[in-house]
Symmetry: C2
Subunit: 151 residues, 2 copies
Amino acid sequence: MKRHIPLAAVLALAIALPAAAQFRKPEDAVKYRQSVMFVMSNNLYTRIGGMVNGRIPYDAHAAATSADTVVFLSRLPWDAFIPGTENVGRTDAKPGIWTEPAKFKDLQEKMQSEVLKLAQVTKTGDLEALKVAYRATTAACKNCHDSYTSQ
Amino acid sequence: MKRHIPLAAVLALAIALPAAAQFRKPEDAVKYRQSVMFVMSNNLYTRIGGMVNGRIPYDAHAAATSADTVVFLSRLPWDAFIPGTENVGRTDAKPGIWTEPAKFKDLQEKMQSEVLKLAQVTKTGDLEALKVAYRATTAACKNCHDSYTSQ
């Protein structure tokens, strides 16, 4: 079943050739965006979140390094949401990603904006300000996941 | 079996607490380094390699973007090679990573050096020079994988 790709998906891939050429197969596009999200999630929730929640001692340098990683990675997943990958492999992506591209892009940009603010705050060494920025960032993540993932 | 962690690994994790605290569980450290490697591999082999091998039309801007991604990601996997993760989950990591840390670090640094040269070459728009830098970079990847992964 994994190898069966619906005709509509094949046609969509053919139309979107330049994007699709970035992946050897549709499953790789799913794995790419999930890999980026996992590394972002680890840096945001486990490392920075661990400091915010007191599980890890606060380390301003480590928080800034993780925030810079989240900023960089926050640009990467989007070109992997190519047409024809909404039902491929073990994705949680909902069809709205492809039917409401403007809303999806707006939520991406809101997240990226919060992530940039978070990174700026980590440079100040102010843990209380970091807590505020962390909550705004994770809320922006959740807004998009609530709309566009089935998790 | 997946939940069973040998005592030696638990002790190693306890000694390496600051690093281990970056991951909720040892499996996450394995998934972290594999996720980073997958995104690096896609950008290096599929995207840049696709241009080098003629599968994708050469696009200097896209090559530079991918190379910058590889540069950034080339710094990330190493703190996930924490003690106690050599036999966790579906890792291909060989024990030499932990018994020969100096050699492992030397091979990392050689790869990072080639990746930086690759990124510089992508800025020139010279496809022939990119082919040379690509081969040097992939050789540096292979040197480390030949020694330290069972794939």
